[in-house]
Amino acid sequence: MATMKFMCDAERCIECNGCVTACKNANEVPWGIQRRRVVTIDDGEPTEVSISVACMHCDDAPCIAVCPTETLYQRDDGIVLHDKDLCIGCGYCLYACPFGAPQFPKLNAFGERGKMDKCTFCAGGPAETKEEEYEKYGANRIAEGKLPLCAEMCSTKALLAGDAQEVADIFRQRVVQRGHEDGAWSGNQRRERSRRQGASVDNLAYDATRQG
């Protein structure tokens, strides 16, 4: 069984927000709800980095652990879905979520938040009919054999979605081609190395835009 994962290659994300728009379009989410967001660190500085983030469909999902109603559950393929008929809008999933994925349509007194909404990996949710499913949760592209629209429409292919193994393979290939010594997440010493090796920084710049 595949384990579905998102992965955003921070060195490719150009903060175009195409994923955000694609998501809203695919799932027809209500006003004020944005299942995917792009976070930019050091905006406008040379060290600027952007990452597109939504529900990351955690293996050990904190939202599932703290939900008082068992609204949230995990499918066998790792996708974390929510049952809107059970949600009471307590907000616990939002307190626990590392990525700020769960959102609520309202924020009124007496904890009136309405039903929680979050990214479904374009896998819909529990409903009697297809129409009801679309109305409540948006598209079920997974059932049609398609991947989430955000990743499919990413212009730089920064955002990857699919089986964790395949996503990892693609990313690993990129890392190798970029000439890293020790992988993308391990705090590589690229700047240090390029200072030492001088011209190799040119090759890195080339790799980042043209290959992989």
């Binding site: 904190p62 059970l86 907000g91 307190y95 007496f110 997440w185 040119d202 980042a208 835009t209 043209r210």
Partner: protein
């Protein structure tokens, strides 16, 4: 001779092949150097369009939540909400089991205590003469607060533990309306409980001022075990303890509850995590202590329940459990004969005369 004449020709052929290979290789190398990069390629041009490298500092910054922008409307959420996992672990690993242990432990103690010691009966027979202990207003306030407390306790417990019991037992069709009703009751009655609690605390402040004899009462454990009857005024030290617990922990639970109940003031996730932990620990503790209060007020003590039901207690009961109060009321009755204890016609307003501490 054949080989001799052939040799120079072979040498020639070999050198031509070698030259040809070298030429090909250099063409291929040249292709690699410039061909794939296209015309007009410069390192500077590539640098300008490439995305900056992600370094360890970047991820450190993500952890700290410094200097970020979020494209989501009105969002103040950092990329990673670190405290969420701490909150989750603390809630699920400590508060949930801790609450069960506290409440179950108190229940077990009460059962064991009841089986071994049993009901505390009156030492001497009832006199038939009664004394006013709680006015109608006070009883109404007590029972309003008590009803709200019980509803909030049951709904609160359902929010924490219900999913382990009722969903597997009755299925979604029952569980969904049950838990949403639970949340509605809890969220809307909570503030009402807060108002009632403040009113009750204000009303009973004067009878709950700690006195010297309360220390002795605590030292003797309230005379629960054995047949000692330490001095007690209108309220004994145990009742005062319950009062001050409600005045501190109770108000803390109300305050943290309000933080959770009114997210419309845009308090952050971290604030609500703290409020939730304070609320859960405080209220589970209060529920555990309340079980003791309920036991002593009903099954545990003969004549205690009728005080809060009718407002009147028998003189024997007053003498046994609140001797100082009994003495004072009796003295007052001696000096003012028209205000006889047990006078059913006494009005609420004069009840104050019955409770010098």
């Amino acid at each position: 001779m054949h080989t001799l004449t052939e040799f120079p020709r072979q040498l020639l052929r070999l050198s031509i092949m070698l030259l040809f290979t070298l030429a090909l290789a250099s063409v291929a190398l040249a292709e690699e150097e410039s061909g794939a990069r296209g015309e007009g390629w410069t390192p500077q041009g590539e640098m300008a369009t490439s995305v900056g490298p992600v370094t360890a500092d970047t991820w450190r910054q993500v952890r700290d939540g410094q200097d970020f922008i979020d494209t989501r409307a009105d969002s103040t959420y950092n990329l990673i909400n670190q405290s969420g996992e701490y909150w989750r672990q603390f809630r699920d690993r400590w508060i949930s089991p801790g609450g069960l242990i506290a409440i179950g432990g108190v229940l077990a103690i009460i059962v064991v205590f009841y089986l071994i010691v049993g009901k505390k009966t009156l030492d001497s027979p009832r006199t038939g003469r009664t004394m006013l202990r709680w006015t109608a207003v006070e009883r109404a306030m007590h029972w309003t607060l008590a009803s709200l407390f019980i509803i909030l306790a049951l709904t609160g417990l359902n929010l924490l533990y219900g999913k382990f019991v009722f969903r597997p037992l009755f299925g979604d069709g029952f569980w969904a309306p049950m838990i949403s009703g639970t949340k509605l009751l809890h969220n809307y009655l909570g503030p009402l409980f807060g108002i009632m609690l403040i009113l009750v605390l204000a009303k009973w402040l004067s009878i709950n001022i700690p006195k010297k004899h309360d220390l002795t009462w605590f030292k003797q454990g309230g005379g629960i075990i054995g047949n000692a009857h330490p001095d007690a005024g209108f309220a004994n030290a145990g009742e005062k303890g319950w009062y001050w617990l409600l005045a501190t922990v109770g108000l803390l639970v109300v305050a943290s509850g309000l933080v959770l109940d009114f997210p419309n003031f845009n308090q952050g996730r971290d604030t609500m995590q703290w409020a939730n932990m304070v609320h859960a620990i405080g209220s589970l503790g209060l529920v555990a202590v309340a079980l003791g209060h309920i036991y002593i007020g009903t099954l545990g003590t003969e004549g205690a329940f009728e005080a809060m039901k009718t407002g009147y207690v028998d003189e024997t009961w007053a003498k046994q459990h609140h001797n100082l109060w009994y003495e004072e009321v009796k003295q007052q009755a001696d000096t003012a004969p028209e205000d006889v204890p047990g006078d059913k016609g006494v009005e609420d307003g004069t009840a104050k005369a019955h409770r010098p501490n």
